[in-house]
Amino acid sequence: MKSAVIVFPGSNREQDVIRALRVGAGHEPVKVWHADTELPAGTDLVVLPGGFSYGDYLRCGAIAGRAAIMDAVRAHAARGGLVLGICNGFQILVESGLLPGILMRNRDLRFICRMQHLKVERTDTAFTRAYAPGQVIEVAIAHGEGNYEADEETIRRLEDEGRVIFRYCDAEGRVGGKANPNGSTHDIAGICSEGRNVLGMMPHPENLVEDLVGGVDGLGLFRSLRAA
């Protein structure tokens, strides 16, 4: 599988995700600059990494969502190609129209940077098949705008179609209440597109792929992408 990591001005997690793709998926990812208009030929997976593209000016992900390369990313997604957006990458996906809803300011107005448990709600995606259904994992979160909001109809569709892929939970897998760090609707931490080929998530699985840095719970996502 060939993967491409898009780099915007202000991206800062591209090296982490490139390493995770090497370690977990066995990929040799190519970096693609935001001003390019084409993806490398034969790209199977596009990754939008975390960071603060354009300094979060206007709205998080708003300017990056209109970058030149995004037309190519939209075309790739429309063909059924895989797209993964992590943290700021998730914000870029909603701003570019590839996923519904929006990430609002955290409920308590604070930037949150800590470890967080997640429940893997669905394993029927190319990104999560190496996990067990309902598995509880612990990964890092680091965001100021991770409070997922959408209109009622959109939330109902996401739930009915099984498109909520990750939910915030506590160590025992209990969802709701204090286990929700940012006020996100239905404790949503990650959702996928109708075709299940575009995944956006606020947490950082790419930072938990080696025991040396505190855990390997993020590895399942990258192992899922190994063979595809």
């Binding site: 206007l58 709205r59 929006i102 609002m104 300011r105 107005l109 909001e149």
Partner: protein, 80 residues
């Protein structure tokens, strides 16, 4: 030509920043503050003098970038 675009949150969209500002104003003892909603203002210089064309260009600008119409409304005011 000069124009001002005002972007505000739609009714019903939670605005924690506005709430925090509201709390700060109240704690300063400023009388009569009911509620506060925070928005954005863009002052834009436009070439040409065709007001209708400017209005239509700004509408496109709002729809494509300046506002996220999932949560925000916008208003366009063209001077002169």
């Amino acid at each position: 030509m000069k124009a001002r675009v005002t972007v505000t949150l739609k009714n019903g969209v939670l605005d924690p920043q506005g709430k925090a500002i509201e709390g700060a104003l109240k704690s300063l003892g400023i009388d009569g503050v009911g509620s506060v909603r925070q928005g954005k203002v863009f002052d834009i210089e436009l070439a040409g003098s065709d007001k209708a064309a400017a209005e239509s260009a700004l509408k496109t600008a709002c729809e494509k970038l300046l506002a996220n119409t999932v949560i925000e409304n916008y208003r366009i005011d063209i001077a002169g």
